[in-house]
């Protein structure tokens, strides 16, 4: 395309055509550092110096308002170091990333929410292993439980970034107080409470698993939480790594146990209809009846706090809050199911490594946390920087050394299962298919 190499000529033509072209079209040079570089604020970023004017591209699924927060969170870093971060967020991220990578157009960094996908890229030799600084920073600041999920065949590729806690049940503290209900601390209490509420004519539970091309995932979270609670973390690990069959009797038990709530017409589906309406209810709307009193409990991750309409007070004494999804078998401990994203690198240029290191640093996590709506397992996060009550609770749970943390199982499984047959299987299960044949179907798809 030779025409692109002769801008001057084209400018002339543009002039002829009457398009006023000002000098702004020309580049302003490489120096991106702002004037306050070298000031006290920038002292913390000195170790990342030396990449002024370099560009680093980041690709992730975070977009819209959340992407604004993301860009603000590293603005000081880019001002001080002169590294330009070119961020792109897209809803089709999981499908688009492999296309770009295979097409030779990979971003420098990507925030991948699935350890399974990290493994796929690592196995295909597409990922760069961490630089020495990045590795040190990650190992200092992040719990081993988490690093394990970013490691493939003994090499650390993914640095954990954000996190969320999935073992939460949303409820309305106001409504509970009004009706004299108490927050259950054991599974049996929770069932008892459900029966009490059902007797008053209100459906105690609500759920929704419709989520576009990811439909089904909220149900898989349910199952995973119950497996963790009835069988313990070891069986959970065997299940997610396919050391035991997907339809192992213990898993069948757990799914049936989840079914006593999810597929119980007396309990479901407050504000939406019967059990089957779970399949077509958008997950974002599913918990909203909690604040209107048409449903009492909704099991969903910490990030559900963002779904409530503006003006909803999300706090222990507010319109909505969450309690820990209670343990079933005390002997299995207090397990926590969660998820998060991992920063992986497709390039090993020094500036890319600098950004990757920075994203694991104390400066970054606190800068991001101050903007709200975000938690991480990074132990450099100062809880004082976390404002919202639900985020505080999440951080406490994530930083609790006595808890057992397990990553969302469907993100660990191969995508064909974890983002395919498991999701679809759960949709069929909600729609009336029996547990045994659903799990059998998923098992046979896992090769």
């Amino acid at each position: 395309m030779a025409v692109f190499t002769r801008p001057r000529q084209a400018f002339a033509i543009a002039g002829v055509l009457g398009l006023a072209l000002s000098a702004t079209a020309c580049g302003t040079g490489d120096d991106k550092k702002s004037d306050n570089a070298g000031s006290a604020e920038c002292a913390a970023y000195e170790k990342y110096d030396g990449h002024d004017g370099k560009k680093v591209s980041i690709y992730a699924s975070i977009r819209d308002a959340e992407a604004d927060l993301l860009e603000r969170s590293w603005s000081q870093f880019t001002d001080c170091t002169g590294i330009e971060i070119d961020y792109e967020g897209n809803a089709e991220f999981e499908a688009q990333l492999p296309v770009r990578v295979d097409g030779g157009n990979a971003p420098d960094l990507a925030f991948v929410p699935q350890p399974g996908l990290v493994k796929r890229f690592a196995d295909a030799g597409k990922l760069k292993s961490l630089g020495a600084d990045t590795k040190t920073m990650a190992e200092q600041n992040l719990p081993a439980d988490w690093l394990k999920y970013g490691t493939v065949n003994g090499t650390l590729y993914g640095v954990p970034l954000g996190a969320n806690v999935k073992s939460f049940v949303w409820y309305s503290p106001k409504l509970f107080k009004e009706k004299g209900w108490t927050v259950p601390t054991s599974w049996d209490d929770m069932i008892k409470l459900s029966d009490t509420i059902a007797a008053t004519g209100v459906k105690p539970w609500c759920a929704g698993i419709e989520s576009g091309d990811a439909t089904g995932w909220p149900a898989t979270d349910w199952i995973e939480d119950v497996v963790l609670r009835t069988q313990g973390p070891e069986v959970y690990d065997q299940w997610t790594t396919h050391a035991i069959p997907f339809n192992d009797p213990r898993i069948v038990d757990a799914v049936n146990r989840a079914g006593t709530i999810l597929k119980n017409e007396k309990y479901m589906n407050g504000g939406f209809g019967g059990v089957k309406s779970i399949g077509t209810t958008a997950f974002g709307e599913a918990g909203l009846p909690v604040t209107t009193g048409r449903c009492a409990m909704h099991r969903q991750a910490s990030f559900y706090a963002n779904q409530f309409p503006e003006g909803t007070k999300v706090a222990e004494d507010g319109d909505a809050f969450a309690f820990y999804f209670p343990a079933i078998d005390a002997a299995k401990g207090k397990p926590v199911l969660g998820a998060g994203e991992f920063v992986v690198a497709y390039a090993d240029r020094p500036e890319v490594q600098a950004v990757q290191t920075y994203l694991a640093s104390s400066e970054y996590v606190n800068s991001r946390a101050k903007l709200g709506n975000w938690v991480t397992a990074n132990n450099k996060l100062d809880i004082a920087n976390v404002a919202s009550p639900i985020d505080k609770l999440s951080v406490q749970i994530l930083q609790d050394k006595t808890g057992t943390f397990r990553f969302d199982g469907s993100d660990l499984m191969p995508a064909a299962v974890g983002a395919g047959t498991f999701w679809k299987g759960m949709v069929e299960w909600i729609n009336g298919k029996d547990t045994a044949s659903v799990l059998q179907g998923i098992e046979s798809s896992w090769k």
Partner: protein
């Protein structure tokens, strides 16, 4: 929207009509039923869009709790959804106007290139005698079935690594940045549009009257001259019609643009921004209602202003008469 064209004027002239009274009654009944049925179909066809339009003017709570028809008994209207779509609050995504300009910059060349190339090819396939032309035509026709999803990775590789055969670089990597990436999108859209455009244009061109060509040839005109002076003017309506289809396709495309241009406000088309409108977790879908209408406006204007070309004939017969 005037659709009357000289070519159909002959056909519209009515004769004296049926001679008997019964015949007259039957004819009137027939045309009444015809009118009735066509109105019913038109209404049924329009209701879903109309419902969406009403919805786009209703407040979020109302959309999510009651049907759009209740707006007639309990009118509550707002421009809030349009406000959010047009002046969205997300600073990282930039202004809708940027995306609008991107859409234009992507669409215009993506319509022109395939039209030009396809009409040249269609002419050759129809009027130049060369060996294997039927097979070439059938092959191009059959290429319509290749799902463009399967072409994304190889085409992206073509741009990002170039073409090297036996160690010789036939084409270097394109290495485009920012708005230069439009070129990749044009290229991709042109590739994907060609089979359909060649198929339709071949249908049209091959049925042009042969004696026209013959006469020109006798006068000493070569293929380029015949193509420019005889064929091009005759196929203008078909080009306009196919142009509209291609325009609608490119304007509404999300996938090709995402892969070849990226999702930032420097290059991404309107569809990318509108897809984001649903909110990070899909819960703000009231904005989709307004977004859908914003994105329909331009194709609708294009269609309405070029509509008469459809009537003049997308297909051959029209010039034969």
């Amino acid at each position: 929207m005037t659709t009357a064209t000289p070519t159909i004027a002959v056909g519209t002239q009515q004769t004296d009509g049926p001679k008997t009274t019964a015949g007259r009654v039957r004819k009137r009944l027939n045309s009444r039923t015809a009118t009735l049925i066509s109105i019913v179909i038109a209404v049924v066809w329009t209701i879903p869009t109309f419902g969406l339009f009403i919805s786009s003017l209703r407040p979020e709570d109302e959309i999510k709790t009651t049907g759009w028809w209740t707006a007639f008994t309990n009118p509550q209207f707002t421009l809030e959804n349009y406000q959010q779509v047009l002046f969205g609050r997300s600073s990282s995504s930039g202004q809708l106007a940027s995306y609008f300009i991107n859409s234009l910059a992507i669409t215009i060349p993506s319509v022109l290139f395939p039209l030009a190339f396809a009409s040249l090819a269609a002419y050759a396939l129809a009027w130049i005698n060369f060996r294997g032309r039927d097979w070439a035509y059938i092959a191009i026709f059959a290429l319509q079935i290749v799902p463009l999803q399967m072409a994304l990775v190889p085409l992206l590789k073509f741009f990002s690594t170039g073409v090297t055969v036996a160690g010789i670089t036939l084409m270097p990597a394109w290495d485009l940045v920012d708005e230069q990436k439009f070129a990749q999108v044009w290229f991709a859209h042109t590739c994907f549009a060609l089979p359909f455009a060649v198929y339709l244009l071949h249908n049209f061109i091959s049925q042009l009257p042969g004696d026209l060509m013959e006469a020109a040839r006798v006068d000493g005109a070569g293929h380029p001259k015949i193509f420019r002076t005889i064929v091009l003017p005759l196929i203008t309506p078909a080009l306009a019609a196919i142009g509209i289809f291609q325009f609608l396709w490119v304007w509404n495309d999300l996938l090709v643009a995402l892969i070849f241009a990226g999702g930032g406000d420097e290059t991404a088309p309107l569809t990318v921004r509108l897809a984001e409108m649903a909110g990070t977790r899909g819960n703000e879908w009231q904005r989709l209602t307004a977004g859908a209408f914003v994105s329909i406006v331009v194709p609708l204007i294009v269609f309405l202003s070029l509509q008469r070309y459809f009537v003049r004939g997308l297909l051959a017969g029209s010039v034969k008469g």
